[in-house]
Symmetry: C2
Subunit: 314 residues, 2 copies
DNA sequence: CGTTCTTACGTGTGTCGTAACGATC
DNA sequence: GATCGTTACGACACACGTAAGAACG
């Protein structure tokens, strides 16, 4: 068995079972790929392909299993190649980070600033998506690692590194009556029109559950995928915002009042996850180290600042 | 990169870094293996080997990582080959079962009888060892699957199938005073010299813990790796035996009295485990099915029989 | 001086590309 | 008849084996 045969099998499956197209993608001529497939099938002795006439249209049961392990094989080969690259071009390559908007906007900037200083030759790509999608992208090797809070749970294929915990805070235009309410309870929050995240984003699910558990339902007048949109409409006076505490920036958001809400909702834990079997290049490891450092800083900032930052009553 | 290069790397590591010996094992001449290693090293661009003069004496950091992934690669290739075999010689092959003595002697016989009827062409190998060793053997692909109670815990590389639960029973020669004691407590057990399993075998660890937890220490006058030895010395009158309930055979052991002890010790769960990534051939799957069937039967037998089998007081 | 790896060279296998043929829509 | 896959054939590459050479204990 040869690696090229497995490559042809995979290319075939990824190109609608067109041998010609698979060949094209592999920079080979079509008869070569045909031969790969035939030899593989012959050697294994089991029919791998569903044929209609001469045309291949799908995989048999055995073919599907072989395909899966062929992917596994080449993934391991790719790991070996990556080890090589790690030495040849130590500080060069691409770092593909899958993250949510909140991470990309509020957590990653200082990390990436430091990272880019250390590895100026590494191209950083931030692929922003929903937590659910990030899981898929990581498994499909479209990103090297994913940073998110939801959905990445205990998938057995992942190594996950818990990084920091966060909770929600309330934001409202300075002078808004909610800012002087003491204490702020779930009930109080329900008195005002609310602006927060969409379902599936940044802890919205457990936010809603917390209300539901005590039989309350907030009046959410607008929900958005990212914090910036929420802030914008809070400034417009459309309602009070409930956002991740780490997304409140004292300097830039000086026109907004902030109140900690960590007594009302469960803490969330943001994690870094990557596919367990995959070789981690040095700069990838370094990025994760930097991220953890920043996370620790953030953890203490959040914990210390949250109570202290509560705006003075007016 | 070629598979043969990876094979040479592995053979080298497994033969004390002697290129000649590696070549011999691969049925190649030595210069061929040398070339494999050189090409691999060249292509990756990283030094893989520690050299003293011309001689290779070890792996560099990178070399070790490459070796690990080379093993992974060839394991996947082996899986693909196994899929082929599964179709070509459906009912032929070798089934390598790692098990402890207790399993091999008291649980496996009926399973293997049925299995051999279904697959007369499959050679069954029972590799008997200690639970700790079984884990290693399974990881090293010396056995296809392992059946045991201890040590196979939640190792991430394993798929484990809980099969049945069991507990201990007491055995003694008919007429022995312990058989008429009511009830049997841990304290009662400590009054008699005890014969049971060695540490690391058949639940000995948790047996001892149960005594230790209440500050007792049984007088173990003899401990053995397998039940047959224990029974022999019980028959000799050297002490009372504490064995796995499934190892008591009413017909063959009619000269022994048996008392259930499941109220004194925690239940143990015997599991079947195999390496997660490995392709499971059909007859292997069939064996595991048969084992589970037998386990269910055993489970009910144990549960039903244990109280009923208590010998009538004399 | 034997052992062990490297270098050099020839042979044969086999892989890929070109080209012609066959089948299917 | 256009597209897609198989078969046939030739050229080049290369992997392996043989044989000779170099370093090490």
């Amino acid at each position: 068995m040869e690696l090229r045969q497995l490559r042809s099998l995979i290319a075939l499956a990824e190109n609608g079972f067109s041998v010609s197209r698979a060949a094209e993608r592999l920079h080979l001529v079509q008869p070569a790929v045909s031969q790969h497939l035939r030899l593989l099938e012959d050697e294994l002795g089991a029919p791998l392909f569903v044929r209609t006439g001469k045309r291949l249209t799908g995989l048999t049961d055995a073919g599907g299993k072989v395909l899966a392990h062929a992917r596994g094989t080449l993934a391991e080969v790719a790991n070996i190649v990556a080890i090589g690259r790690d030495h040849v071009e130590e500080g060069r390559g691409v770092l593909r980070i899958g993250s949510t908007h909140t991470q990309a906007r509020y957590v990653l900037p200082p990390v990436l600033r430091r990272f880019s200083q250390a590895y100026p030759e590494v191209e950083v790509q931030i692929l922003q998506s929903t937590p659910g999608q990030l899981v898929e992208m990581t498994l499909a090797d479209q990103v090297d690692l994913a940073i998110c809070t939801e959905a990445i749970g205990e998938h057995p294929a992942f190594t996950t590194l818990p990084s920091y915990r966060w909770n929600r805070c309330l934001i409202a235009p300075l002078g808004h009556p909610v800012l002087s309410r003491r204490p702020i309870s779930l009930g109080v929050l329900c008195e005002y029109p609310m602006i927060t995240y969409l379902y599936g984003f940044t802890g919205r699910g457990r936010l809603s559950s917390s209300f539901a558990k005590v039989g309350l339902r907030p009046r959410v007048v607008l929900s958005a995928a990212d914090t910036d949109v929420i802030k914008t409409y809070v400034r417009e006076g459309m309602g009070v915002g409930v956002i991740a505490d780490l997304a409140f920036q004292p300097e830039q958001d000086a026109d907004l009042g902030m109140r900690d809400l960590s007594h009302l909702f469960p803490w969330e834990v943001t994690k870094v996850a990557y596919v367990r079997e995959k070789y981690v290049r040095r700069f990838q490891q370094r990025f994760m180290d930097l991220f953890q450092e920043e996370a620790n800083r953030l953890g203490s900032r959040v914990r210390v600042q949250a109570p202290g930052q509560a705006p003075a009553p007016e």
